[in-house]
């Protein structure tokens, strides 16, 4: 790679940080307003009690827990792309890692808000923290909600560090390239990074270890979130398949979210030279795989329930299959499987646009899947006297919309502060690798920044 190439990369990827259009401010204002409305809705709920929400006896968990599981699910994007692809030496991951890791951190932060939002007494949420309090009592570590606390804290710490460590060299780069107040701030954030061989060696080793460590953590996080359901004797919750089912669903929705984010970034930040259709192709193939896995798990769960024919479970089963939740259920099947499968399986359709369409339907479908796991089961429990239906109220809808706005807002602000493509990792991808060149391969192909050969 020549010096000109390097400087072009610097210029392209730092351009969003240097120049800001009026659209940025409009977008931030718009999203900020929605976020404020959401905060207002939450405050209204805290003042008036959960009577303003749609939950009722016996459907005590609905929208908020759906959102909780959904956002923790979305947060599995970063781990898969960054950590697993790093571990298997897939170099095409290089422009994509930071986009993905950012999604993880922000989705986790948003998801972690919901256990507080849905509490009856949210001002006492700190009862969950295991510290020697003056109340002389500890939290109950037998409770899956306690496991949630540990798992999400660990994952949030791990993925934040996983995101921040490789940004340090980029902060150093920005310290050198920027001027004025930006230079001072990035100078502090760069922590005095030089770029000696020892520092690079250590950083890469640390990233390798973090990647190895973060994968089991990510899998455990969504398994533990699934344990919130499977540890209780509610019909169709008490299923041993929930652990893997939720993890697969999480990775599924995570990749879909990532594809959407990447497509939007590509367009708005003019990153066409860096986010190549090949990336979307590869992620699209992964998405196809996850769609098939999701379909497999859904089928396995439902056939086991149907074949087992237990009365309590069958009541829930039929509610989702043909009863009042049937429209949502079949929409979910369409969105998660029937629409994405042909788009992602047929090579000609697996374009960037195709992947984005498939991902959008998947995001909707996965949100519905979380809802359909939680609410029909609670609405159709063991004693038929208690069977009820749930209607979401404006407060819940507003907070849900506000979380999507929060995600986009945080992401937008991040792209203004840090280059969304990891500059040094991208440059490493362009190094001339000592390897056998295929016959007839052009010089350009060999030096491409994105290659499928490790």
């Amino acid at each position: 790679m020549t010096l000109q190439d390097e400087q072009k990369i610097n210029a392209d990827l730092l351009r969003p940080l240097r120049s800001t259009s009026v659209w940025f401010f409009l977008l931030v204002a718009f999203l900020g307003t929605i976020l404020l409305c959401g905060a207002g809705a939450w405050f209204y709920q805290m003042s008036n009690g959960l009577a303003v929400a749609g939950i009722r006896w016996p459907i005590f968990w609905a929208f908020y827990i759906t959102n909780f599981v959904f956002w923790i699910g979305i947060s599995h994007a970063g781990t898969l792309i960054s950590a697993i692809l790093r571990l298997v030496n897939a170099t095409w991951r290089r422009p994509v890692t930071r986009c993905a890791e950012v999604i993880t951190v922000f989705a986790l932060m948003i998801g972690a808000m919901f256990p507080i939002i849905h509490l009856g007494r949210p001002w006492l949420f700190f009862y969950l923290i295991p510290y020697p309090s003056e109340r002389h009592i500890w939290p109950n570590v037998r409770s899956p909600l306690s496991w949630d606390f540990f798992a999400i804290s660990t994952y949030l710490t791990g993925s934040t560090l996983f995101l921040i460590l490789p940004i340090i060299p980029d902060f150093a780069l920005m310290r050198d390239q920027m001027t004025g107040w930006r230079r001072r701030i990035y100078g502090v954030l760069a922590l005095g990074w030089q770029g000696t061989t020892k520092q690079w060696h250590r950083l890469e080793a640390a990233m390798q270890i973090m990647a190895i460590a973060i994968v089991p953590v990510a899998i455990s996080v969504h398994t533990i979130v699934s344990f919130d359901f499977s540890m209780s004797p509610v019909p169709m919750w008490h299923s041993t398949v929930f652990g893997p089912y939720f993890v697969v669903g999480a990775i599924f929705s995570g990749i879909a979210g990532l594809i959407i984010a990447m497509a939007v970034l590509r367009k708005t930040l003019h990153l066409e030279a860096y986010l190549h259709p090949l990336h979307f192709q590869n992620l699209g193939k992964l998405l196809l795989l996850m769609s098939l896995l999701w379909g497999y798990f859904t089928f396995a769960e439902r056939i086991t329930t149907w074949y087992g024919n237990q009365p309590a479970e069958m009541a829930v089963f039929w509610e989702t299959q043909t009863g009042s939740y049937a429209p949502l259920f079949w929409t979910m099947v369409f969105c998660n499987f029937l629409i994405p499968f042909p788009i992602l399986a047929i090579r000609k359709l697996r374009t960037i646009t195709g992947c984005v369409i498939a991902s959008s339907t998947i995001v909707v479908g996965m949100w519905l899947e979380r809802f359909l796991i939680i609410v029909p089961s609670l609405g159709t429990k063991n004693l038929p006297y208690s069977w009820s239906s749930y209607r979401p109220q404006p407060v819940e809808i507003m907070i849900t919309i506000a979380t999507f706005a929060a995600m986009v807002l945080l992401y937008t602000l991040f792209t203004k502060a840090v280059p969304i493509i990891s500059i040094w990792e991208l440059k490493v991808g362009g190094h001339v690798q000592p390897q056998l060149t295929a016959e007839g391969e052009t010089e350009e192909e060999h030096h491409a920044l994105w290659r499928t050969r490790p």
Binding site: T2, V141, L191, R202, L203, K427, H431, Q433
Partner: protein, 165 residues
């Protein structure tokens, strides 16, 4: 702090410079190569002994495991409340707490040792040139024994001028 350095446009000429310096008798620990990306394929430094980082991470994991075990055991036995007929010290749920704290221990140990061994964060003025971020590779000799020899060697690998700090 005294150092002489040259900025090279590509890794090959930087490698050449380092090799020549070594041949000229400059000790390895005085040679510092600074770049804006890691160059795994090149041998800029001979101090490539196997890093201890994996062992430190494992140690952090063990510490986390111990912490998880202790926390679960103490919280369960300090107020022994019967819940759902489960034993007071319930090992199935304890395993989950222990696992999470093990991984947290490994991650934190890795990050802390990364910062300690790389010397970050630091405000000491060390050898550096902002042109590194433009893609140049900086080869520096700290506290050179023979100024003129070092300067000749650096220039011989394809650069016009050397700088001094």
């Amino acid at each position: 702090m005294k150092a002489i350095y040259g900025l090279y446009p590509d890794p090959d000429s930087a490698q050449h410079a380092v090799d020549e310096l070594r041949k000229g008798g400059v000790p390895d620990r005085s040679i510092t190569v600074i770049s804006s990306q890691p160059y795994e394929e090149y041998q800029f430094s001979h101090r490539y002994k196997q890093t201890w980082l994996f062992w430190i991470a494992a140690g952090g994991g063990v510490a986390g495991l111990a912490a998880g075990l202790t926390l679960a055991y103490i919280t369960e036995t300090s107020w022994p409340l019967v819940t759902g007929g489960m034993p007071i010290v319930a090992w199935w749920p304890n395993i989950i707490i222990m696992f999470e704290l093990t991984m947290l221990g490994a991650i934190l140990a890795t990050v802390v040792s990364l910062f300690v061994t790389t010397g970050l964060p630091t405000k000491d003025s060390k050898v550096y040139d902002p042109e590194v971020s433009q893609g140049k590779i900086l080869v520096a000799v700290e506290e050179p024994a023979d100024d003129a020899l070092v300067e000749r060697t650096l220039k011989a690998s394809g650069i016009e001028e050397v700088k001094r700090v």
